[in-house]
């Protein structure tokens, strides 16, 4: 998601092609080609310019409605509604071929991951790890972070509170976290809703749901979270 204003002018985009399975868009105003995943103009008069990123928040409809009851939602375009993806479309996508020069086989090319970039460091977390280990407590680029999942909804936050890293653990039967130092309860939006820290907000870190091959293509130096040592005792 991108802000479309460049040099005070709002650009209007069209689908213009595909570059190694990530689409290219063309702006009507200058005809430049932009890479969807990076927001960078790769060809044309605006080559090298970057759109301003709007932090991605890909969550379930239920969660969104709970958080934004007065929000508005895009309705289907009746002309093409039949051509929209079906409910289980991700299973179909998973079977599509991957055409890329990426040969990094640390994960399956079509493995669903969530990626974060903290302080310039990229790190990928397998979706299955995120859901099973919820929350994931980690440190990326020297920044202590927490990754939380509510079904398919995934968010990440910095764990720094008042200059100190806090430890967080899941509050059973809820999507909340509790911090080890004060026992305050933090909701899925990273806001403390109970306890001495009530009203405080953890700093959001953008997460991108992506396939491994795509993430790896645009973040060649990415690390991968290893869940091997910490398995939940069931």
């Amino acid at each position: 998601m991108w802000e479309t204003t460049i040099d005070g002018k709002a650009l209007h985009f069209h689908l213009a092609g595909i570059n190694n399975q990530n689409f290219i868009m063309r702006d009507e105003e200058t005809g430049s080609w932009w890479q969807q995943v990076t927001g960078e103009a790769i060809l044309g008069p605006l080559k090298g310019r970057r759109l301003t990123r709007v932090p991605q928040d890909e969550i379930s409809f239920a969660l969104w409605k709970r958080e934004q009851p007065r929000g508005r939602i895009l309705r289907p375009d009746p002309r093409v509604a039949k051509r929209y993806a079906s409910a289980n479309w991700e299973a179909g996508i998973a079977k599509l071929p991957v055409a890329t020069r990426i040969s990094d086989k640390r994960l399956d090319l079509r493995e669903l991951i969530v990626g974060v970039i903290v302080d310039g460091r990229a790190k990928a977390y397998r979706m299955t790890d995120v859901q099973q280990q919820n929350p994931i407590i980690d440190t990326v680029g020297g920044v202590p972070i927490v990754i939380v999942a509510d079904g398919q909804s995934v968010r990440a936050f910095s764990r720094m509170v008042d200059g100190r890293a806090v430890d967080l653990f899941a509050k059973p039967e809820t999507t909340s976290l509790v911090d080890a130092s004060t026992g305050s309860e933090w909701n899925f939006a990273g806001r403390a809703i109970r306890g001495t820290l009530t009203g405080r907000q953890l700093q959001r870190i953008e997460v991108l749901r992506d396939y491994w091959f795509d993430w790896r293509a645009y973040h060649p130096d990415t690390a991968i979270f290893s869940a091997g040592l910490i398995k939940r005792a069931h």
Binding site: E3, G44, E58, F61, I73, R75
Partner: protein, 160 residues
């Protein structure tokens, strides 16, 4: 110029006009890798395509007119040789990616509570700016690929 040379010229123009529109279409195919050089060439051809193919069409017509008199059965061949330039001039003005993925012309919105077309577990892309919140169902985004909107006064493009 000899008639033979004019015929050759007509052939060459037809071939180049086709190449100008076909090369980008072949390079930029889904499920195929693209190289930076391939993209660069495709971009250049796409840029000159609309003008170039019209010029090729005009040149083809001029040649056909010139060769028409004196030609007999070969008039059919003359007409056939204009077709590539005509197709190219038309295709250079199309966005065939938008044939497959119709752009969202008039995006309509409903309030969160009135949305009956989406299941609780379906994913949406959410944005909140300056007190205004909007969501875009992933299943719709996966088809349109991009949606332009203004949220909280900020013009954005939602991409997927």
């Amino acid at each position: 110029m000899s008639r033979r040379l004019l015929w050759l010229l007509l052939l060459i123009i037809a071939a180049i006009a086709l190449a100008v529109v076909l090369i980008p279409a072949l390079v930029i195919q889904p499920f195929r890798p693209q190289s930076p050089r391939g993209l660069e060439i495709s971009f250049a051809l796409k840029r000159i395509g609309p003008l170039f193919t019209i010029a090729a069409l005009i040149a083809s017509f001029a040649l056909v007119v010139k060769l028409w008199r004196g030609a007999r059965w070969s008039r059919i061949a003359l007409l056939l040789l204009v077709i590539p330039a005509m197709l190219s001039a038309w295709f250079a003005r199309q966005n065939h990616f938008e044939w497959m993925f119709n752009p969202l012309a008039n995006a309509g919105y409903v309030s969160a509570n009135a949305a009956t077309f989406i299941a609780d577990s379906d994913l949406v892309m959410a944005v909140a700016r300056n007190g205004e919140a909007a969501a875009y169902p992933i299943r719709q985004l996966a088809y349109h690929h991009l949606v332009q909107d203004t949220v909280g006064g900020v013009p954005i493009v939602v991409t997927y």
